[in-house]
Symmetry: C2
Subunit: 224 residues, 2 copies
DNA sequence: TACTATTTTTAGATTTGTCTAAATTTAATA
DNA sequence: TATTAAATTTAGACAAATCTAAAAATAGTA
């Protein structure tokens, strides 16, 4: 059993995300784009990851993550999301400020540290962006999320997360108070551009399709 | 102004410690011993650190840390010690368990993070081992510590720190409840081997010179 | 199917930090 | 002071992660 380097951990995390959230097959160039590196660098790394049995890789045939690799990826994702909870809930950072710090903290190796951090935080199930936190065995909740852009006029929803994690987008949402847990009702959907008029608490405002496509929601149910 | 790598930070930290606590001049081999590496590697690194003006270095003449280098070193020491406080006070680790984790956490770059951690912890002045925590400008407390081995029979002292930070030693002290802040009175000092009989709370036990030499104390003053 | 266009891989370099072994410099001692 | 001993530096090599440019394989299309 090998100990992954921080770089290997980052590759596995990216491959895991592309496998699960992306539509296209996980190929060299999609990894290169995600990681802001070159295809040549990715090819080099894929051979290493394959040697260590974290992925199945055949030249020109793309990549499939193995059980072992998934376990590594989920471990990193767990650390990342727990540190994000720590940074927002304990150190009072805003949800759009924590990503970069968590990217560094996730590579701190101690398993015992993360176990105690989890306990200290009260075993949170979701991070500040609404993404589920895997437990020690890799299991996590997954309520059937869908996009706000698929919501219907007159209906009430609860925000559960986002699909765009960029600082720019998160800051934009923060300005409107559009955070996970918040209730939104769709007042009207414009035929012309699919933009929508939404109500949050007493406020009413306009959201472009660009924005609503990147907000995840679930149906509002009054009794919990 | 350069951004130091984690490795450069570790070298500067070691050079700072050797400059301030060690007796001998800071030469290549003492750095190599401290860092468990070879003299050749140290020489390579000294040239890099010198290029970046963190040390003054002349071939064969040893090393002197510059103001700039000292600032970097104190920044790392500040982070290390604040994380140690976090790990013991918040996550309930024992004082002999935190060093390795803090060595990783100290390289997390965000200054804002450490500033907020400091606030969250209540601006502690000392870490769990009794070592002073530098503030943002690099200043720190330094009460005139001396070794328990220099204490006198019949006198009462307060433990303020240790000079040996090894897990083995810290675990040993923990067994006896010999932690910073604890009051110790010396009942008797043996002429033969300079070992001492000490009283801590209701317990009485024997400490070898080897042990007492590595415990730092200050005089006990009843009113605060 | 044949020919582009795209994607992917290889070849060869570079940077950081490390090593061993050899050469050089400084220190110690007869 | 001459010579041995110890410390230090250089030379050359290696592993990890990266890059550019060129070659090879796959996909798309006339």
């Amino acid at each position: 059993m090998y100990q992954p380097t921080a770089t290997e951990e980052n590759y596995l995390k990216t491959i895991y995300h592309l496998s699960n959230t992306g539509i296209k097959s996980v190929n060299t160039s999609s990894i290169a784009t995600s990681m802001e590196t070159t295809a040549a660098s990715v090819t080099d790394m894929l051979r290493k990851l394959s040697d260590k049995e974290w992925i199945n890789y055949e030249k020109y045939k793309g990549v499939k993550i193995t059980r072992k690799g998934e376990k590594v990826a989920l471990g990193i994702i767990r650390k990342h999301r727990l540190w994000e909870v720590f940074l927002t809930n304990i150190l009072d950072f805003e949800w759009d400020e924590v990503h970069h710090m968590a990217e560094e903290l996730e590579h701190v190796s101690s398993e015992e540290l993360i176990k105690r951090l989890d306990t200290f935080l009260g075993h949170p199930k979701f991070d500040p962006h609404g993404d589920p936190i895997p437990d020690q065995t890799g299991k996590m909740e997954s309520h059937d999320k869908f996009n706000l852009s698929a919501g219907e006029a007159g209906e009430k929803y609860i925000i559960t997360g986002v699909t765009d994690h960029s600082t720019l987008f998160l800051k934009h949402l923060r300005k409107y108070g559009l955070l996970p847990g918040v209730t939104v009702s769709i007042a009207e959907i414009m035929d012309y551009d699919k933009s929508m008029l939404v109500k949050v608490n007493k406020d009413k405002f306009h959201l472009s399709l660009e924005v609503s496509k990147n907000i995840l929601i679930k149906k509002y149910v009054s009794s919990k």
